[in-house]
Structure formats: structure tokens, C-alpha cells
Amino acid sequence: MILIIGGAYQGKKAYARDLFGGSFIDGAKCPLEELFSCRGIYYFHEYVKRWMESERTLEKGTELDEVLANQIIQQNPEVVIISNEIGCGIVPMDAGERRWRELVGRTMTHLAAFSGEVHRVVCGIGTVIKQKE
């Protein structure tokens, strides 16, 4: 798995295209199940919001972030995920917005622990902040 992260409009998609080619799916619009078979996804943070809002029953004692992260790791371990870092602002007043931010953060933290590479893009320039030997 490879993660490409950074703030909004930093050139993450173009950076990913240069490194890994095209044909990624759009996390803001794609059918939710496509994540588990696609080669790559952009707007993953938007995907997380739609996933969070879709109806789901949870077993007691399980956390949403673990459920999502584990499903991706098990079903699509080679996927390239492009996501905005959305947790670096004032904590929102709205409870749903707060949940979303934390869910994106914790899910990405699980995925980053599993990933072979994590790239962080600032001003179009990527820095590899994690690389497995």
C-alpha cells in the first residue's frame, strides 16, 4: 500500500500520476465497494465521509476506523490512496465534522502503519516520510 497525503490543492493527484500512472477512482463519487478492487483512489477523505454516513451496524467494542482500515488492508493491500490532511485546523463546532476529521486521521494512521511508502506533498513536491526497507 502507498499513501499520498498533503493539504488541499498541493498537486497530489499529478504527483501520483507521474509516479504510478492514471486510472484512479474518485473517492467523492465512486460506488463505495470499488475501493476494495481499484488500483488507486483520490479524494479518499471524501470517501471516508460517505462511508461514515452510509448505514452500517457495528459490533460492540469495534471502532469505525479499525473496521475501514482492516477491510482495505485485507481486500486491497496494494492500493494507492490519495487523501487530504484535514486535521490541522480548529476543532469544528459540528459533532459530525469532528467525527469525520478524527475518523480520517485514525484510519490513515492505521493505513500508514501498514503502508510500504507514505509520501507527503507540499507545493507539488513530494517527500517520502516513510519507506519500508
Binding site: C88, G89, M108, I129
Partner: protein, 172 residues
């Protein structure tokens, strides 16, 4: 050794800070909690952090304001979590330091650094959402940024945790 650990919401900074302080493997380990719980969500958050610290041998001291007068004997390692709550408390709570918030927080942090061998301080990246807030909130952002800069100047290392990955901004 003073470490400043910062990161966004859900970035894994708390877990990283705990790991950092456990690496020192000293005997007396103190956790200074600054979050003043006032609703169910805050209580749940405190409970979540307590679960994370369970069995890690921390003695917990709550300190919502007035860090410089905390009653504390010498300790090997101190984990202070976190500057964003402490700053909010000093600015907005009735008995807070108000306009002297930054100055008094720094005085408290210097005291903790004298009292400990290793001090790990957690802060929060709240500066990059591009939203302009009301004056009170903007002032809060500015004061926290000032505290972060001053602590960073004092610290031996400054680490931003990005989804659990440490990014070093300063290391000595």
C-alpha cells in the same frame, strides 16, 4: 531532554508521545492532564486516553490552569498533554491567566523542565484550515502558536507526527 510533539487531529501524536516517554524506561513517570471534561464527548476522549495509558505506569495529575504553581515533586519523566487545552483553559476559563496566558504557560513549562529529567510536551496543529474565525478564536490560535514557537525554541527536539510517522523539525 525536552521534546515537543505536535500533529493534527487523529494523527497519533498522543500514542507517539507515550511511546517516546516509555523509551526512557525510568521509574517515576508523571502524566499531566489538561483537558477539562465538560460533556459526554470530552469524557469519552479522556476515557480513551486513560485506556491508552493503562498499565504504562503513569501517575496522573490534573492541571487545567496555573501550571507554574502545580504541586509536584521531582520526577524522572513528565508528559504534559496538551498545550492546546492548557492555552484554551488559560484564555477562556474564569480563573485563567487571560492576557498573561502565554507568559504563564512558559513559566510552568520551565518549572517542569527543572523538575524532570525528560519532559515530553504534546501540542496541536490547528493553524492550517484557512478559515477566518471570530476575534476570540483568532486570538487563541495566535497565543497557541506563540507558545508552540517558544517551547520549540526551548526544546531539544520538535517532532510533527503525521499519521503516526515522526517528521523531525528539530533534533539536537
Amino acid at each position: 531532554m525536552i521534546s515537543l510533539i505536535t500533529g493534527g487531529s487523529g494523527s497519533g501524536k498522543s500514542a507517539f508521545a507515550e511511546k517516546r516517554i516509555l523509551e526512557y524506561a525510568n521509574e517515576k513517570r508523571i502524566y499531566i492532564a489538561t483537558m477539562h471534561p465538560y460533556d459526554a464527548e470530552a469524557f469519552a476522549k479522556v476515557a480513551r486516553h486513560q485506556r491508552m495509558r493503562k498499565k504504562k505506569g503513569f501517575e496522573t495529575i490534573e492541571c487545567y490552569t496555573d501550571l507554574k504553581n502545580i504541586s509536584l515533586m521531582r520526577a524522572d519523566d513528565i508528559l504534559l498533554e496538551c498545550l492546546s487545552n492548557l492555552t484554551a483553559n488559560e484564555l477562556f476559563e474564569e480563573n485563567g491567566a487571560k492576557e498573561k496566558a502565554a507568559e504563564q504557560i512558559m513559566e510552568g513549562i520551565r518549572k517542569l523542565s527543572y523538575l524532570s529529567e525528560n519532559l515530553v510536551i504534546v501540542s496541536n496543529e490547528i493553524f492550517s484550515d484557512g478559515i477566518e474565525y471570530d476575534r476570540e478564536t483568532e486570538h487563541y490560535i495566535e497565543v497557541l502558536a506563540q507558545v508552540n514557537r517558544e517551547v520549540a525554541a526551548l526544546a531539544d527536539e520538535v517532532i510533527e507526527v503525521v499519521y503516526g510517522i515522526p517528521v523531525y523539525h528539530k533534533r539536537r
